[in-house]
Symmetry: C2
Subunit: 274 residues, 2 copies
């Protein structure tokens, strides 16, 4: 059998992954959800044929989305994850012992259900009693919960289709309002190789909206260009300054105290556009 | 037209780049040399259908192969580049004003000639009078020139076919002998995602052969996994310690003084295997 999943990461660049089996395929009210067994990356979850996560490399993305904000914040208790239906981000959040409650505001309940069945190494996090599910419009949920969260993590798909609203200035302003004093938000902000306008717009919004804003990055093999950025805004501590004690408690496969600091060092070609 | 170049980066993972034109194709005595015009990455050079370099992302690889050793060394005068027939590494070497002579020991003269024609932004470096060409067996050239170089950069293809010898313990030992006192060597050492045994072997050889050995990394979109490693051995200064003055003179698009330091910070999953 010579079966390949192929994603056009840009109109001019493709990634192909050898598939051993199509494990699941369904059309939810929002999107097509597919799970594959790949030969190289373990299980692969796609939404509308776009790679969301693979078992083999997901740790880079999820650790680097979650830990910088949670390690910089002095005492994260209430955490909101917008998107993130596979469970990887929630799993990382729960590694912080101060966390009392994690709300998962995910559009599509079916992504959570499928992940529970096929991606247990991520979705096992959903069994934790601290996790609360709010299915539906994440932006609406944020708008209705001012002054509630210490940390917000936006684990969104790409800025097309249902995910587009999560890249808007209006959404980031409601996120600011949903933060408690000293709160921090981190969003995935796409590739500096292929999504430069998006990245630039996000940086600009964050600079306007938050007293402190920062960009950090991590190398994710199955995302376009293999180089992924995260943008943070803070009402208090600087996200690039880890609390040492909190960082050393996280035994990451990508994240470490030293990597936290290094991830905020931007190469000149990224600085230029951010 | 819907024309794609495709490389199987591993037996189970592919990259595809949209091609606008095949600019050149020849079989040299050693390999097939092809140059494409791509839609996303500018011109692309392949050897035996493996991506060597693209105009758009080559700066990441070439800057990060060349500058750490040249910036750590207090006064690099004599430099040897093994491989590197496209000119990108030599171009970076020549940015260091102490350099008096760069020997390019490249197996295949045709790679140099083709690069001069099709990749002028890299190969213009070959016009510099400090550059000396030695075509043929690079390992033999190294063996015949003991105690001659301050810095050696091994800009090799993958460890298959003609490039395999450049990953052997015996070759690294002759490199040590070709270094002058205080000299530094840096080699490209493949991906930590897909070439773990190779990376591990290189690390072990360098630890045995050189008093100081280090690993650093950089994200290169068109190389497998988008995460590339470099291994350095030194008879003198620690490659991870930049001389500030020398680093600030390099106005890189990826390289900077801060990136030099950050690049030697290894994520735990890489530390484990190195």
């Amino acid at each position: 059998m010579n079966l390949w999943f192929s994603e056009d990461q840009t109109p001019n660049m493709r990634i192909g992954l050898r598939i051993e089996e199509v494990l699941h395929r369904e059309r939810s009210p929002y999107q097509e959800i597919t799970v594959y067994e790949t030969a190289e990356f373990g299980r692969l979850l796609t939404l509308d044929d776009i790679i969301m996560t693979t078992e083999r490399d997901e740790f880079v993305y999820h650790e680097m989305l979650a830990h910088p904000a949670l390690v910089a914040h002095p005492e994260p208790r209430q955490v909101l994850v917008v998107g993130g239906g596979d469970g990887g981000t929630v799993r990382e959040v729960l590694k912080h012992p101060t966390v009392e409650r994690v709300v998962l505001a995910e559009l599509d309940e079916r992504v959570v259900e499928v992940s529970k069945l096929y991606l247990p190494s991520l979705a096992h996090a959903f069994d934790d009693p601290r996790v609360e599910f709010r299915f539906g419009d994440g932006a609406l949920y944020v708008a209705e919960h001012p002054n509630e969260f210490d940390v917000i993590l936006v684990d969104s798909p790409d800025p097309v289709g249902p995910g587009a609203v999560l890249f808007s200035e209006a959404f980031y302003r409601t996120c600011r309002a949903a933060l408690r004093p000293g709160g921090i938000i981190t969003v995935q902000s796409e590739s500096p190789w292929f999504n430069r306008e998006q990245l630039w717009a996000t940086r600009r919004y964050f600079r306007e909206i938050f007293p402190v804003s920062r960009l950090h990055w991590a190398p994710v093999p199955t995302y376009p260009g293999g180089f992924w950025t995260f943008t943070s805004g803070s009402l208090g501590p600087d996200p690039k300054e880890p609390r040492e004690e909190a960082a050393l408690r996280i035994h990451g496969r990508y994240y470490s105290l030293e990597i936290h600091r290094a991830a905020f060092v931007l190469p000149p070609f990224v600085k230029e556009l951010a």
